[in-house]
Every structure is written in C-alpha cells, then in structure tokens.
Amino acid sequence: MDIIIILQAGVASGTVLLFATLGGIFNERSGVMNLGLEGMMLIGAMTAFSTTVKTGNPWLGLILAMIAGGLLSQIHAFITITLQADQVVSGLALTFLGTGISLVLGEGLSKAGVISLLPVITIPLLSEIPFIGRIFFYNQSILVFLGYAMVPLCWWFINKTRPGLHLRAVGEYPAAADALGINVYRVRYFYVFIGGLFAGLAGATISLAISPGWFSELTTAGQGWIAIGLVIFSQWDPFRAMFGSYVFGALRRLILDIQGPAILFGMANPFYYNPYYGFFLQMLPYAFTIIVLVIGSKEAVKKRLGTPAALGIPYIRGQRGV
C-alpha cells in the first residue's frame, strides 16, 4: 500500500472514466442522455483488442474502436432524436446490444495472448517534480497524456467557440436555437456521435493500455455506469470530470490494494482474512456514486448550474408547452 502508487494507478485507470465522462458531457450538453455508455465501451474495448491482435497495430485498433463506438451510438440517436422514443429505455437497450455484440464477436479473444500496446512514456523534467511528478508524468500510457490535453480542449470548445455555443443552446432551449436557424436534430446526432467516439476511446484505453486484454464483460466491469454518475457529479464541466474520474480511479485501485497486506495499520487486516469482505469493497464505488449524485445535484440546484434544461426531452418543432 503505497499512496503514490495508488494515486498513479488512479490517474491511469481514471483516464478510462475521464474519456467516457467527457463523451457523456458532450451528448448530455446537447440534450440527449445516453445510458448506453457501458455497451459502447465494451464494443470499443473488443474492437481495439481484436484489431490489434489481427494487425499488430494498436493505433489502428484505437481508431477503429472509436468508430465502432460512434456507429453504435447512432442507433440511440435514431431512436431518440428521429423517432423521439424514451432516452432511458433506448440507452439501456443499447447497453444490452453493445454487450451482446462484443461478447459474440470477442469469443476466443481472451486466449489471444500478448499484443503490442500503446507506448508508455515519462516526461523528462516534469516527472522529477516531487510527488506530483511521479503521479502524473512518470511511466504513464500516452493515452493518459491525451486525457490531460483533452480536458482543457473540451472546456474551451464548449465555452469559447461557436459550435460550443450552439451545443449549449440546443441542450438548454432547443426551440430558441431552432428559431435562429440552428438545426437541432443535426446538432444532437453529431454530439451523440461524439459521445460514442469517446466511449469507444475509453474502451480502447482499457484493452490497449490500462489493463490490457479481453475479459468479456469484466473488461469494463461497470465503469460505464460510474461514468454516467460522474457526468452529473461534474455538472457537465470537463475539469470537474477530470477530478472526479481520478478520484474514482484511485478508489478502484485502493480497493484492490487494501486486500493485499496481512497487517494493515498495525492490525490484522480484516479484508485479507475474510475474502468475502472483498465483495463489500467492490460495491463501494457504486455506493459512492449514489452519494456523489445526491450531493452533486443539491449543489447544482443551489448554484443554478448544472443540468441542461432540455436533457431527456425530444424536440418537436412547434410543440406547445412541456
């Protein structure tokens, strides 16, 4: 149990959550909730791994994973935007669909053996900074660094650019955006697609970098659901998403590590002697998600931040009321 190692691993596995959460932020900002994250991540993880097995090129795997996530998301887009069906139901169905497809296509992949992974890098000077350097800049996958770059980039895109302005308007008040000639449907399709790309990237991050391999549905192990909680916790803000993702990443690692030593803080470690307690620990991230959601939404009400006003509501031009 070394705190630096836990935090370092937290940042690494938090990167998976970060990508998925960023994707969720984009599609929810446009007003579409997508509970299919878990399914899209699985498809991404499977596509990335099997492509790399076949071609030996993890970069190709990464790109195909993103495309696969993006394509899967368009089913959800069609059902909720064009057919105006319930977003919750469609999202859940998407998870089942994504899980099913990836299990069928991923059959046998778990025995594929070792593949070439994405590079791991250490940044020369930055990694020397005490504490911080080891956690963030030492021996991390290149995707972790991509995560660092993505966060400010996404924030800037959402808050400081014209497409970002349109994105926010469509999620807050689609009728107003429509009245000014913004194509609400097109914007929503596009950001659901972006959400899919990110989910695919998150999946690839697992299978090509953070915990390489294909372990059927255990590859993602419910991280898609945690990311859905994080989207709300982040109040749709990339920087808060980053913080939340790393905290949850570290929590995941802590739960593994805490079961390791026989002696903990000078006492017999109950988690070591009672393996069943491990199940209780594994439950913690989900309990934590619920707590975070409760706290997060209270705060959102107070600060008037938060939920895109049109989240979950299909847009129909000229519809009265709602």
Partner: protein, 521 residues
C-alpha cells in the same frame, strides 16, 4: 399629397393571402388575408385562441401553412424554417421569450450566426451590441446572464437579437403582457424609434388602450377568420374593437354591489419569507381579509407579491409569522392544509403551478376534488362522473377545446386560465388568492373573470387580488394594500392612483401624511 409620397406610404412589405392552418380538432387560421406596409405599426387583435400567434408563427417560418401564400415585396416566398424568415428580414419576438437563460446577452444574440466563424471573441461583440443598443435606445449589459435580467430587459435582448440580424419587420407577440407600466412606455418609445428608422412592426395585444395609443392600422381575427382587415386605427373606438373581436358588446365598467364584509377569514401576522435565491423577500407583512371583500395588493413586479401568494397557499415556507385561517395556523404546513380550509389559488405561473401540461382537461379540473364523491370511489376514480363534471365545467366556464381529453398544453393562454378558474372557483373557496388573473386574456375573457371574482365576493369568499394592473385593482378591490420590497407601505380605500403610485416606489403612507402630499380623509 403628391403621387410619390402616396406610393411610398402605401407600399406593402408583406402580403399574406388565403392562409389556412389546421391543428388536430381546430381550424386555427381560415383563409386569412393580412398585409403590412413599410414604416407602420400594425396591431393584430383577437380573442384568446383566435389564431394570432399561429398566423405570426407561419410568417416567421415556424409553422407551414396548409394553404395560402406569402409575398414579401411582391415576391412569393415559402419558408422552410425560421432561418429563411430571418433571412428575408422577418424577426419574431415570441409570447414566451426564446432566450437561453444560462448564457450571456451577447451569446444569445450571436447564436446561430455565421460570424464569428469559430472562436467567440466576446469582448469585441459586447462592444458592437452596446453600440447597437444605443442606436435604438435599448440599453443592455452584454455580459449579464439572461436569468439575471428582468423581463423588460430580456425583451430588449430579444429585440436587439432581431435588429442585429438586420430584421426589417418585427413581430411582437403580446410584448406588453409581462411588462410594468414604465417598461411599456420605454418599449413604445423604442417602437417609435424603429419605425422612424424605416422598420415595420406587427404588434399583438389584448389591451385596447395600447392598441389605440400605438398602432397605425389594425387587423382583427375571430375564431380563425378576419373580421377587419387593415383598417385605420384612428377613429375606431374600444367598443368597436371589442365587438369585432368578440362578436358582441362588452361592458367595460363593472357593476359592483356595495361591499358588505363579514368576519375575518384569514389573518396574516408578521410574515417573513425568502425568495428562490435565498434573499429576504417578504419582511413582516400583516393584514386580514374578511369574508365578502376583495383586498388588492398593488406593487411593481418583484416586490414579494409572488412569494406572499406562495406562503399563503402553502407552497413556500415562512421564516417567521402566523397565517390563521378559521382559527387554525397553517403557516409552514403544506398546500393541503390550506385546501382543507377552502383556500383556492390562481397562480401567476399557469403552465407549471396552475396546471399539469401533459394531462387532459378532465384530469386538470378534478385535481382538487378527486378525493371526494362522486369522483372518488374509495381507492378508485370514477371516470364517467369525472367526465360529466369536466363537461359541465367546460360549458359553464366556456372553455374552448376540441375535447375534454385534450392535454392542456395545447390550449391557448386564455383557455388555460379558464381551466384553472373552473377548478379553483367551483370548489367554492372561503379564501381565494388570485395573482394576475387576467394577464394575457382578451377583453371578453377579462370581463368574464372579473365577474366571477365579484360573484365569489358576493357569495362570501375572502379574496386577495394581486395585480400589477392598477386600473383593474382599483375597479375590483374594496381596499388596496401597497407592497414595496416585501413590506406594506399603506392602505388605500378610495383608489387614489397618485397615492398608490407614490407608495409603490417606496414612500410610506405616514411619510406622505407628514409631508402633506395627501390628507387624511
């Protein structure tokens, strides 16, 4: 007048010919003709549900007409979307503002434009917008978020949004319904300014004196058809207009029986409460309302009226004070505690608090008495008797709706208000809180609502009428309390407008008495 100015004045910028639009169960526009000349203010009048907003939504590209055509500067156009209409120089300011609350003024104005291309350099555009505002006399703070602005300011942003897009024709759907009297004056000045700069304005309103004051010509719709097309506004009387709109004569002066108050029904003692932002908004209000009287509350919007109404009807907690109805303190209990004592509420917000938009007319009218026989059958609802009841109310209160199963979100503003009135008044309240009960209603409907309120008073209900329309307050109320920053400034019995006006801006009655501005009666 010489030939050239004659043709200049008469040039039609817009002609709508034979516009027909049908919604499920209603013919909203039936072969409507309408034209607009350049440089005029053209009023569009009609009862609630007459089809005014529909016609204008067609002109603004939001709805497609079933038949008919639109000519702009003599050329036929077909708008596929609002963008096309804006491109043709038509800007509409809707009954409900189309502004994104979480974004700034500048962001709202730039929304949907091709310029800036990618990076929003807001500083530069902030400056442009301030300048545009100065040109038309529309001051705004470009950095403010929309939710921080008053309704009047939001409207300015809406106008600027259209002017920024180079709109030549401005459609304003009931722009004055939500404004305070001073704000209305400012708006009218702006409109005159704009017409002076060569723009044309279509102005929808239910307030006939405004129409007389501001418009050059007017068009009247009744139940989807035109009853007067482009007649000169000069020389038309209010009575004429009312007849054209409603198809019968309207009595403008109310017949009011002398007030004959009984025992106090409600006693409010030193009530304090907070508003939604957590600031003090009602600060120690005390009064009583007796059975058989109407007590008016006058004040500029946002001085605690809404919060007071909420507290009295159990929708908001009070931090201090007592609310005693029939000897029972209902402060900080829930709405049901009040309803048991016969409290009725006509809220300002019709679509969120007053009704459940997606439920049918039937469901909305039985919401208060579904627990009573015959609609309640133990744990079950007796649908046939609920429907009989709804049909009865529909007839008595003249609710115009295709069927009692129609979701109320499809109703026009006036009809929605009638649904609320039907529910609240048919429960024979002992105490009725009515907030802006005639806002957005047509003359016929206003007459109806006012009569209903007086009837309730004569039947012995205690009524608290909260309104920003002084004229209405004075004609209906038996006495008027003036509220300012959550405190009662004084009480007026004789409807002295000047005295009310001074108190509305924060002078206490006893100060007025001291300074000799008014004299004790």
């Amino acid at each position: 007048m010489n030939q050239s100015t004659e043709t200049l004045v008469k040039e039609n910028v817009i002609e709508m010919r034979g516009i027909t639009k049908r919604f499920p169960g209603v013919l909203a526009n039936d072969h409507v003709d309408f034209d607009l000349r350049s440089g005029e203010i053209h009023a569009l009048l009609g009862e609630n549900g007459a089809g005014k907003s529909t016609l204008m939504n067609i002109l603004a590209g939001l709805y497609k007409p079933d038949s008919g055509n639109i000519l702009i500067h003599g050329k036929s156009v077909a708008f596929a979307s609002p963008k096309d209409a804006i491109g043709a120089g038509i800007g509409m300011i809707h009954q409900h503002f189309m502004l994104v609350p979480s974004q700034t003024v500048t962001e709202n104005i730039l929304l949907g434009l091709n310029e800036p291309r990618f990076i929003m350099n807001l500083k530069m555009y902030d400056q442009n917008i301030v300048e545009l505002g100065e040109k038309y006399g529309l001051p705004v703070d470009p950095k403010a978020k929309i939710w921080q602005l008053s309704v009047g300011e939001q409207q300015r942003v809406e106008i600027l949004k259209m002017l920024y897009r180079g709109a030549e024709i401005l459609i304003m759907d009931e722009p004055t319904a939500v404004l305070a009297p001073q704000e209305i004056e400012i708006l009218f000045n702006t409109l005159h300014n704009m017409v002076g700069l060569g723009k044309s304005v279509i102005f929808i309103s239910h307030k006939l004196h405004e129409v007389e004051q501001i418009s050059d010509r007017l068009t009247v719709l009744r139940k989807g058809t035109v009853t007067a097309q482009g007649i000169e506004a000069k020389g038309v009387t209010r009575a004429d207009l009312a007849r054209l709109m409603v198809g019968r004569d309207i009595i403008f002066s109310l017949e009011k029986k002398p007030c004959n108050p009984g025992k106090p029904v409600i006693q409010v003692e030193n009530v304090h409460c907070l508003n939604d932002k957590g600031l003090n908004s009602v600060n120690g209000v005390s009064f009583e309302v007796r059975s058989g009287e109407i007590v008016g509350i006058a004040g500029v919007a946002g001085n605690g009226q809404k919060e007071l109404a909420d507290v009295l009807t159990g929708l908001r907690k009070c931090s201090q004070g007592k609310i005693i109805i029939q000897g029972d303190d209902i402060a900080n209990r829930n709405a049901k505690a009040g309803i048991r004592h016969g409290v009725s509420h006509i809220p300002e917000d019709r679509t969120h608090i007053g009704t459940a938009p997606n439920l049918s007319v039937t469901d909305n009218v039985i919401m208060k008495n579904y627990t009573k026989k015959p609609i309640s059958k133990g744990w079950m609802l007796d649908t046939p008797s609920a429907e009989i009841y709804a049909r009865e109310l529909k007839d008595v209160y003249d609710i115009i709706v295709p069927s009692i199963d129609t979701p109320v979100r499809l109703l026009s503003g006036g009809n929605l208000q009638r649904v609320i009135l039907a529910r609240e008044i048919s429960s024979e309240p002992t105490f009725l809180v009515a907030m802006q009960p005639t806002r957005g209603l047509d003359v016929g409907a206003i007459e109806g609502v006012q009569k209903l309120l007086l009837l309730q008073r004569d039947a012995g209900a205690a009524i608290l009428l909260i309104s920003e329309e002084l004229e209405e307050l004075i004609s209906l109320s038996d006495r008027i309390l003036v509220i300012y920053e959550g405190e009662i400034m004084g009480e007026v019995f004789d409807g002295n407008i000047d005295e009310i006006g001074l108190m509305m801006t924060g002078t206490r009655q006893n100060q007025l008495l001291k300074s000799g501005e008014i004299h004790e009666i």
